[in-house]
């Protein structure tokens, strides 16, 4: 998947993904964790950082953080919280409580559908800030006439997942985030909604001559709120850096802002302007050291993760994990696996699930694996043609019946015996002498016309392959 950048350069990407946890309440207080409500209604002395208030850690958020750690194969550790100090109006205390050099999850990995593993440096817990809206200017604090701050988001629990700089293209970055999103949703920790800011991605991008081992100077890109803009921003930034280096210039380490409308990144602040966060251990919280019991409870409650499910299905179906990624994403792997266990042909089961079943999610929910296996088997053994099989399946998904035999019978989908089919083929040949001559003269394209006519006469009951075979017999015989 890794596609090198043009002109002998390769791009190196590390991603920082902020994931809002789906807890009922905020990280350090009892306020509701909800999106899209009237501004400054889900607030209290603690999340407003009022003088004298103190944080108390939300147990559910730790549970989710550990699930994420498990899913990313991390070492789950005793951790502590630090204060990250900087002044900003949407941060009520003018420091953010975050984990720093002792995070709860460290040293894991994420496997992409194509099998490549991306290292996960850490997945740590922290609180979200409020949300500022800068009015009367370009939407940034510097040129605003005034700013509005909504503290509903202040104190919402986050897990920040930091990847190793091991991602080699914009496409791979999208695949990483897409896979990570699936994992986060599967753990129950996140709703995965990038458009609501539940998942926010920053990208560290640098380039280096292909094959070099030293890293180039990186830029951190912020403000990408969809997979599409992530890809576009990385592509833009890669090109920008290549142009700089090829024209003898240099890349300056800085934070850059992605502008979706303009399709370009622009400088936010340089390394020299970067904050000194003055991290130190948060004295209002005690170390977080989940005991063995809590950790094994979390492990026991873990649902299967997308990579496990892809592997299980691919093994059962005799194919590659990448080939079944979509089915797993659509949550249809369970159905197919069960059908295969009932003896269904894996190839046909995958095919029907990926097309007919996936097209009707509501129907899929009521489709039993046993019935699905039966219709697949009917097709595999030639009792139904592919066309008939699709129709029977559609009827089952529509809730008509759970019994494929009954539906087939109702539709009159009996397999035509060869003599009956031969009769129909002969009729069609007789009715179309000119095309038949062309067929005899060696034009294979007209076979489609005959097959179509036969299908029409048999209302789709004929097997296309059988018709072709008869046509060939008539021509050659």
């Amino acid at each position: 998947m890794s596609a090198d950048a043009p002109g002998g350069w390769e791009v190196v990407i590390g991603l920082e993904v902020h994931c809002e946890l789906r807890t009922a309440t905020k990280l350090f207080c009892g306020c509701r964790n909800a999106f899209g409500e009237e501004p400054n209604t889900n607030v209290c002395p603690v999340c407003l950082g009022l003088p004298g208030s103190l944080p108390v850690l939300n147990r559910q958020s730790v549970d989710y953080a550990m699930r994420i750690g498990e899913a990313l194969h991390c070492d789950i550790r005793r951790s502590i919280f630090h204060r990250k100090n900087y002044f900003y109006p949407d941060m009520p205390k003018d420091y953010q409580v975050s984990q720093y050099d002792e995070p709860i999850n460290a040293e894991g990995w994420l496997e992409l559908p194509d099998g490549k593993r991306i290292g996960v440096t850490r997945a740590h817990m922290e609180e979200d800030t409020g949300k500022s809206t800068h009015m009367g200017g370009g939407g940034r604090i510097g040129d605003a006439t005034h700013s509005l701050v909504d503290y509903n988001r202040a104190g919402v629990p986050l897990v920040e997942i930091v990847s190793e700089p091991e991602i080699g293209s914009a496409e791979e970055a999208r695949a990483y985030v897409s896979e990570l999103r699936a994992i986060l949703v599967a753990t129950g920790a996140s709703d995965g909604k990038m458009e609501e800011g539940s998942l926010r991605v920053d990208a560290n991008v640098s380039i280096r001559p292909r094959g070099a081992t030293a890293f180039g100077t990186r830029c951190e890109i912020k403000n990408m709120n969809s997979l599409r803009s992530l890809g576009r921003a990385i592509e833009y930034e890669t090109k920008r850096q290549i142009v700089l280096l090829e024209s003898g210039d240099r890349v300056v380490q800085e934070t850059r802002h992605w502008n979706e409308d303009e399709g370009r990144t622009s400088s936010m602040r340089s390394k020299e302007e970067a904050f000194d966060y003055r991290y130190f251990p948060e004295p209002d919280l005690v170390p977080l050291a989940p005991g063995a019991e809590w950790r094994s409870a979390v492990r026991a409650a873990m649902p299967a993760m997308p990579f496990d499910r892809r592997r299980a299905l691919a093994t059962a179906a005799g194919t590659e994990p990448g080939a079944v990624a979509l089915l797993v994403e659509q949550d249809l792997d369970g159905l197919v696996l069960a059908a295969i266990a009932e003896g269904a042909d894996p190839r046909i089961a995958l095919n029907r699930a990926a097309n007919e079943v996936a097209a009707d999610p509501d129907g899929a929910a009521r489709l039993s694996a046993a019935s699905f296996a039966r219709v697949v088997t009917m097709e595999a053994t030639g009792k139904l043609t592919a066309t008939q099989s699709k129709q029977v399946l559609a009827a089952m998904l529509a809730g008509e019946s759970d019994d494929p035999d009954a539906i087939a019978k109702d539709r009159g989908f009996e397999v035509m015996d060869t003599s009956a089919l031969e009769a129909v083929v002969d009729e069609v040949i007789a009715a179309n002498p000119a095309p038949w001559q062309r067929f005899l003269d060696g034009d294979p394209k007209v076979s489609g016309l005959f097959i179509g006519q036969v299908m029409k006469k048999t209302q789709g009951q004929a097997d296309g392959k059988a018709v072709t075979a008869i046509l060939q017999t008539r021509r050659d015989g």
Partner: protein, 478 residues
């Protein structure tokens, strides 16, 4: 002067009305507050209403709590719902907390009657109450002298008879040192024994709320009421409040008590003499008293003046003019921050914010904050070794008696030395209290500090009770 124990008993049984009690104390406030300035805010009307309500409940036969009708002064860094809470700083100008501190809730439930909010060094940073934005508090025993600090207002309120009880906060000695200077009892409990929820933070890992009172028994009672686990404070200890009131009269027979050698150095001779007399008294009462070395305590002051300012620099960031308190308007946000904080904070607060910001800066963290934390560990370890052989320790509370106004304002380091004996307990998280024991050559009170291991309050109150009994006997004899 009546004690809290007596007042609560009298009010509970209907022998005395709470209104009568509060009127008597408010009369004293009227008489002397203009020269003392113990309070930032006197809650006369609220107190009378609360007292009247208590009297009605007593008359109705309702149960009214262990501090029924006892007037109590709150340091003005404890949040009180709907009432200004200033930390004696301009930066909190106009701010009223929308909630009560946990201790305030517990006291209200116990029937205490709040007389007012007491003056302090701004954000509890100081040792004389001279750093208040609203002017200093005077020592009721000699109004040319400071009352100590930072809880000078609370100490003075008790010493002046404005209230038998007061709460202060102690980060490096801010309860014990003013208690010593004003001749009252002051207690810093074990870190985590009393909830900090609603105490406006100075240095979170050191701050602890504690009682002031005229007698040891009153402090024991007050501490019993305010201590105990609070789910709103993550550093709150998960054990029930200790039983202390009985400990006061148990005596010290058989206790092993050590005088901390390092904390007898650089102490005024008259103060040191009182500490040795206190040791003799305890020995006479059956304790085994010896000198003991707690070597690392000599580094306490240095470590403290890195850790406390570092935490303060972060705790005080939120006073930025954006959400509450003072705002000096300016064309852009950075200038607004700068001008608000320049106008809102006094010089000592600014000094400590700068010290702390520097100590946490990239490249300096290990040399300053990191090193100070290692010293802190060392101090705790040295205390632990001492407590293998001793039940409690003894030292002066402060190196001097109450000093004159202005004596140390020009030299911050001289002022900081005032806390040299009290700081080690904060760094270790251990309990310690100051008990009045005689006077210095200037006739002003001397405080003896009793130190105990973490959660050792019971033994600490036994020693304090014995010292008080001996000091009272000596006064009667004199």
């Amino acid at each position: 002067m009546r004690t809290a124990v007596d007042i609560a008993e009298a009010v509970r049984t209907g022998a005395r009305s709470a209104v009568d009690v509060i009127d008597e104390h408010l009369a004293e406030v009227d008489r002397r507050e203009p020269e003392i300035h113990a309070f930032n805010l006197v809650l006369a009307d609220e107190a009378r209403r609360a007292a009247a309500d208590l009297d009605r409940r007593v008359a109705a036969g309702e149960s009214v709590g262990r501090l029924a009708g006892v007037p109590l002064a709150l340091k003005d860094n404890l949040c009180t719902r709907g009432l200004p809470t200033t930390c004696s700083s301009r930066i909190l100008d106009g701010w009223c907390p929308p909630y009560d501190a946990t201790v305030v809730e517990r006291l209200r439930a116990a029937g205490a009657v709040f007389v007012g909010k007491t003056n302090l060094d701004e954000f509890a940073m100081g040792s004389s109450t001279e750093n208040s934005a609203f002017g200093p508090t005077r020592n009721p025993l000699d109004i040319t002298r400071v009352p100590g600090g930072s809880s000078g207002g609370s100490a003075a309120a008790v010493a002046a008879g404005f209230a038998p009880l007061a709460l202060g906060s102690d980060t490096g000695g801010s309860i014990r040192q003013p208690a010593a200077f004003c001749g009252v009892v002051g207690v810093k409990p074990t870190y985590g024994a009393v909830s900090r929820y609603g105490l406006i933070a100075f240095a979170s890992s050191l701050d602890q709320i504690g009682p002031f009172s005229a007698t040891v028994a009153d402090s024991a009672l007050l501490l019993e009421v305010i201590a105990g686990h609070d789910p709103l404070d993550s550093t709150s200890i998960q054990s029930p409040a200790p039983s202390l009131t009985e400990a006061v009269e148990v005596g010290v027979e058989g206790l092993r008590i050590g005088i901390i050698r390092e904390l007898m150095d650089g102490i005024d001779a008259d103060v040191a003499a009182r500490v040795r007399e206190a040791a003799d008294v305890l020995a006479a009462a059956g304790a085994k008293v010896e000198e003991v070395s707690v070597a690392a305590t000599i580094y306490g002051l240095s470590a403290y003046y890195l850790i406390a300012p570092a935490e303060a620099s972060s705790n005080l960031s939120r006073y930025d003019g954006v959400r509450y308190g003072l705002r000096v308007d300016a064309p852009d946000i950075t200038t607004m921050y700068e001008q608000t904080r320049a106008a809102g904070f006094g010089p000592e607060v600014k000094r400590r914010i700068m010290l702390g910001t520097y100590a946490l800066s990239a490249g300096y963290y290990d040399a300053y904050y990191g090193q100070a934390q290692r010293v802190r560990t060392l101090i705790t370890r040295d205390f632990d070794s001492a407590y293998e052989h001793f039940d409690a320790l003894l030292s002066p509370t402060a190196p001097t008696t109450a000093f004159a106004f202005g004596a140390k304002t020009e030299n911050p380091l001289a002022m900081y030395l005032s806390d040299v004996c009290t700081i080690p307990s904060n760094l270790a998280g251990h309990p310690a209290m100051s008990v009045p024991f005689g006077t210095g050559d200037d006739g002003l009170p001397v405080g003896v500090q009793v130190l105990a291991p973490a959660l050792g309050e019971t033994v600490m109150f036994r020693v304090a009770g014995a010292l008080e009994a001996a000091a009272t006997a000596a006064t009667v004899m004199a």
